[in-house]
């Protein structure tokens, strides 16, 4: 589903964010990408979204080589990947329902489809009653649920979350992780970049650890750090 082959990313002249990374994630997997700040997690996410271009190496997503996608093909590429961010990235001028609807509008779906689908998906993330609230009227956890609903509403094959619980308290984080887990169980490939140790240890999923731009560990049913 997502393949990095020998990918390097250098910012400026000599800031190495990724150093010859090889990684394969198969369809339906749930993968944690862990590591300290600056270890290269976010760079990997942004490379997958084609927000950045690799300095060397090749990336394939959904069977498509990213280097072969022209600039005007980027929106279509991004629609095949649901995205959840640490800072939620909701549109402040739109209600929860409108934020989710916007992701459907950009794909040109029919108003009737949008009207039926949006409440369903908000129901799924447990926000049926908060539909008409604006982001600043919602708690952090609720905002993150809206953003997950938005990421998932078009049922993309891949869902990427970059520090989804970074701004949330532990209890709220559990809810978010359960939500991601449910989305994974219906067949979506889920990639979560995080340094939330507790969460990773509880979930017992595949863990890929990055350190200074290199993969130092890749373990199925792993934990955040190896037991010493």
């Amino acid at each position: 589903m997502i393949h990095f082959s020998n990918v390097s990313k250098v910012y400026g002249k000599n800031i190495v964010a990724l150093d010859h990374v090889d990684l394969g994630i198969e369809s339906g997997e749930f993968v944690f990408l862990v590591g300290a700040s600056g270890s290269g997690k976010s760079t990997m996410v942004r490379l997958i979204l084609k927000e950045l271009e690799p300095s060397a190496g090749g990336i394939t997503v959904n069977g498509v080589r990213l280097s072969a996608i022209p600039r005007r093909g980027i929106p279509r590429h991004r629609r095949s990947i649901g995205c959840v961010f640490q800072d939620f990235k909701l549109l402040p001028n739109k209600t929860a329902a409108e934020n989710v609807a916007y992701a459907m509008e950009v794909t040109g779906q029919r108003p009737r489809t949008i009207r039926t689908k949006v409440p369903q998906i908000l129901d799924l993330v447990g926000l049926r009653d908060q539909m008409e609230k604006f982001p600043d009227q919602l708690s952090g956890g609720e905002q993150q649920r809206v953003s997950i609903a938005r990421a998932f509403v078009s049922q993309p094959p891949i869902l990427i979350a970059d520090e989804p619980t970074g701004n949330l308290d532990p209890d709220t984080s559990v809810g978010i992780m359960q939500l991601l887990h449910r989305i994974n169980r219906i067949g979506t490939t889920v990639l979560v970049a995080t340094h939330d140790r507790e969460m990773v240890d509880v979930m017992r999923k595949r863990v890929v650890a990055l350190e200074n731009g290199r993969i130092v560990r890749d373990k199925a049913r792993g934990v955040y750090a190896d037991e010493v």
Binding site: L49, E51, R72, P75, R76, R78, R79, C83, F85, K89, L90, L91, P92, N93, Y102, A103, E105, V106, T107, G108, R110, R150, A151
Partner: protein, 294 residues
């Protein structure tokens, strides 16, 4: 992709409402710029109108020799009527010339007493389409058999008038162009500010997979609406001020020849509104473009 105009217009109107202060700023800026541009157009139109009126008084008088036969007169008259530069030709017979003289000296009849109808020569009074044609027509008249000393036209006045007119018209055009450039800069700045305040929004739109066009259209429609409102308000004010000015000038300085005919209300209105809308659309189009590169 389905091209959803309804959605874009709804988004644009929502954007205008939610960013009300920025919208008002953009509308006000547009209105001020269009006001200045409109004032430039008006001054230019009135100055040209006044110049045209002064120029309309310019005539060439061509006198016939006293012994000219009626056939000769008729022939010359028809020839002159055929000149393309000539607006109108009037024949003044000897009798008519004497009658005019008598009217002019009605207070002192002794001056004109005893003058016979052959005292004054007959003449053609030639009104020109443009004062600048005077010299050329004079040459043509000489070609048609008139002697140079029988032609009478205010050459000095005409030359002077043409020179000044040229300067004024060019100065006004330059000033208007300058104002136009200034307005474009000012307005696109206002729009850029309003879009800069929303760059995060644009970034998010792009991240959830919106194409450039999808992000851009609501902003462009916003620009269009802002330009339309600002320009329409300004154009109405300009035309209202124009009406007041014409009325005032005709009462206060009637000799200046200010006339409402110098300004075509409809075309001034259309020019101003079209310029305003074009600036709004172009300004937002360019401003959004800078933030689309995510």
């Amino acid at each position: 992709m389905r091209f959803n105009w309804g959605f874009f217009v709804r988004e644009a109107l929502k954007g205008l409402r939610l960013n009300l202060i920025m919208s008002v700023t953009a509308v006000t800026t547009t209105a001020v710029c269009i006001l200045i541009l409109g004032a430039g157009l008006l001054v230019s139109a009135h100055v040209q109108g006044i110049i045209r009126q002064v120029g309309e008084g310019v005539e060439i008088t061509a006198f016939f020799p006293k012994n000219a036969s009626p056939e000769r007169i008729d022939q010359a008259r028809r020839a002159v009527e055929g000149f393309p530069e000539v607006e109108e030709v009037a024949y003044v017979s000897r009798e008519e010339a004497l009658r005019r003289l008598r009217t002019n000296f009605a207070e002192q009849p002794e001056v004109v007493e005893g003058l016979g109808s052959n005292f004054l020569p007959a003449s053609l009074e030639i009104k020109l389409k443009d004062p600048s044609y005077a010299e050329g027509v004079a040459v043509k008249l000489e070609g048609a058999g008139f002697r140079e000393e029988d032609l009478n036209y205010p050459q000095q006045t005409i030359n002077e008038l043409n020179r000044i007119t040229g300067y004024i018209v060019w100065a006004l055009r330059a000033a208007t162009a300058l104002f136009l450039v200034a307005s474009v800069l000012l307005i696109s700045n206002a729009i850029r500010l309003s879009i800069f305040a929303r760059r995060k929004e644009i970034e998010v739109m792009k991240l959830v997979g919106a194409s450039d066009g999808f992000v851009r259209w609501p902003f462009v429609i916003e620009g269009l609406v802002q330009g339309l409102i600002g320009a329409t308000l300004a154009a109405l004010v300009v035309l209202w001020v124009n009406a007041l000015f014409v009325e005032w000038a005709q009462n206060a300085v009637p000799l200046l020849g200010v006339s409402s005919a110098a300004v075509s209300t409809l075309s001034v209105f259309l020019i101003l509104v079209v310029v305003g809308v074009a600036i709004g659309v172009f300004g937002s189009f360019m401003s959004v473009r800078r933030f689309l590169k995510v």
